[in-house]
């Protein structure tokens, strides 16, 4: 059962990812981007990290995808399609993929199945965030505030006097 689910989710995610990389119309690519993240989130659910999957839907589809779509709207010409596809990119990507597969095949210890784990509850994540990971949490807070203020300042239009 989980193999069927895993195969379905993988095919959906990779198809959406290929659509993002090759579609000519910007909006369709941005919407396939959202579908791809839905697939990745489903993969996280399968792997047992439910909280990360939910945060992924929340942040990527609810925020980053909307940001991208708005930016596409705000930077539109009269012509929507930006023609131009660099075929050397395909060669590089295939080379990198071949290299990664070779690295994985030569490591024999990766052919293991999933062990039985206790589900990681949200309470445990909360405890860890407040005890062992409190410094990264505060740094992330500062980083997000800085990103927010920076993005606002960048796009603020100056009033012409």
């Amino acid at each position: 059962m989980s193999t069927v689910a895993f195969a379905t989710i993988t095919i959906l995610t990779l198809a959406a990812a290929l659509a993002v990389a090759t579609l000519q119309k910007l909006m369709h690519a941005a919407l396939s981007f959202a579908v791809m993240f839905l697939g990745i989130s489903a993969l996280f659910f399968l792997l047992g990290a439910e909280f990360v999957g939910l945060v992924q839907i929340f942040v990527y589809i609810g925020a980053v995808a909307v940001l991208i779509v708005f930016t596409i709207l705000l930077t539109r010409h009269d012509t929507e399609r930006v023609r131009g596809f660099n075929w050397s990119g395909v060669v590089v990507a295939l080379a990198v993929f071949a290299g990664l597969i070779w690295a994985m095949e030569s490591t024999k210890s990766l052919l293991i199945g999933p062990p039985q784990i206790q589900p990681l509850t949200v309470q445990r994540i909360g405890e860890l965030l407040m005890t062992s990971y409190v410094w990264p949490l505060l740094c992330i807070g500062v980083l997000l505030t800085a990103a927010l203020i920076g993005a606002l300042i960048l796009v603020l239009e100056e009033k012409r006097e």
């Binding site: 959202a34 939910l54 839907i57 929340f58 589809i61 909307v66 589900p119 949200v122 309470q123």
Partner: protein, 396 residues
């Protein structure tokens, strides 16, 4: 006896699935159980949607001193059937230069996210359709994908009014997502769990023997409930915050180019969003399916849940009949300058309540915190200066 009436749906589902229990593999039982849950959920909420669409018109009519629809069926209660037939036989018009795939998928996506968010609410004892450990986060994650679907509707129609309406709708929804989430943080913090079942269970004891331990009866819970309710109003685009679908301003906003059944789907998604937010408010603040006093516990749990839900839905309809539409910049100001600071104050007040002991002194201290911040905010926002003295002009 009372227990068996209470658990009637649970036992019905078990007896429905019992022929499969020994013979089928494990995953088939899970799939069948999920399908039964989904079927029951859809059946209940779609009929509630149909009932509410006619009840709303009748209640609004009574508030406006007229009868509502009363031609079709007894007291007009078969009106949804007539509406459904009308919507189904309308011609489906798609603009020529619209993006066909995006235009088609947008109402489906909005309805799908609205129905998905209904799945984690506990409707009665042992009656939660899907138990997820991070249930509340699931609700908000699914709700946040509504924005993308609204944008798809606005952009796919290839219409400037639709685009403007979609932008306004998204701005409104994103601004009010923050107060929506920050107001539930006190509840999550006090219960220390995101599981709706645990949150309902934390509201079960009785203080002094007969006062229920619902979170709405604490000062931080009351303010958080009010803020959550208002944010829910905005998220489902209901009057007084229905700028995205304001007929006198931008035709129908992002729904302009949709006709017939697709428009009905948008309508249904708005109502189901309303049900979901009200259901979550009942779960988080009003004690879920618990009864308000230990003497009334013989009434089944799902009856209590739907009674509380009906009261909240009546308040939604009441507000629609009473208040005019707010201006768009007033909506934004309200969200960022008032609701967000008050939501954070509730959070701090809940912490004060917890650390001052959860009794009377905690109650009074948290009330003091909220009152101080509220008065300071009112002075800082200078709400009195913006209103000129009221003058009346009559026709001569």
């Amino acid at each position: 006896m009372a227990d068996s009436v209470d658990q009637i749906f649970f036992h019905a589902k078990q007896s429905l699935l019992s022929p499969l229990a020994d013979r089928a593999p494990d995953w088939l039982i899970q799939v069948a159980s999920s399908l039964v849950n989904i079927g029951a959920l859809l059946g209940v909420f779609l009929s509630l949607f149909a009932l509410m669409s006619v009840l709303e018109r009748k209640i609004l009519g009574r508030m406006q001193n007229r009868y509502g629809p009363n031609r079709v069926g007894p007291f007009g209660l078969f009106q949804p059937v007539a509406d459904g037939i009308k919507m189904l036989i309308k011609e489906d018009i798609v603009p020529v230069r619209a993006d066909k795939i995006v235009h088609f998928l947008a109402p489906i996506l909005i309805a799908a996210t609205a129905i998905l968010s209904l799945g984690i609410i506990p409707y009665g004892r042992n009656m939660t359709p899907f138990v997820i450990d991070g249930g509340i986060l699931f609700f908000f994650a699914v709700g946040s994908t509504t924005e993308l679907a609204v944008f798809m509707a606005g952009w796919g129609s290839n219409n400037k009014f639709s685009m403007l309406g979609a932008m306004r709708a998204i701005a409104q929804m994103i601004s009010y997502e923050l107060p929506l989430i920050v107001t539930i943080l006190p509840v999550v913090m006090i219960v220390s769990s995101l599981n709706p079942d645990k949150i309902v269970a934390a509201q079960s004891p009785y203080v002094f023997g007969f006062v229920p331990h619902w979170f709405v009866l604490t000062p931080w819970g009351f303010v958080a409930f009010l803020l959550f309710f208002v944010s829910g109003l905005v998220e489902s685009n209901r009057t007084p915050f229905d700028v995205p679908e304001g007929e006198s301003e931008i035709v129908a906003g992002h729904m302009t180019e949709y006709s017939g059944f697709k428009y009905a789907t948008f309508f249904m998604a708005e109502y189901i969003g309303m049900f979901a937010v009200s259901g979550l408010a009942v779960t988080l603040f009003l004690g879920g399916w618990h009864s308000p006093s230990p003497f009334l516990e013989f009434i089944p749990s799902y009856v209590w849940f739907f009674a509380k839900l009906s009261i909240l839905l009546f308040v939604y309809i009441w507000l629609r009949g009473t208040l005019p539409r707010t201006r768009v910049d007033h909506i934004m100001n309200f969200a960022w300058k008032f609701m967000l600071p008050m939501a954070f104050t509730c959070f701090i007040a809940a912490a004060v309540w917890h650390y001052a002991g959860r009794g009377l002194s905690g109650w009074l201290w948290s009330l003091a915190v909220i009152a101080v911040v509220y008065v300071t905010l009112s002075m800082l926002l200078e709400t009195k200066k913006k209103f000129a003295p009221r003058t009346y002009r009559f026709a001569e």
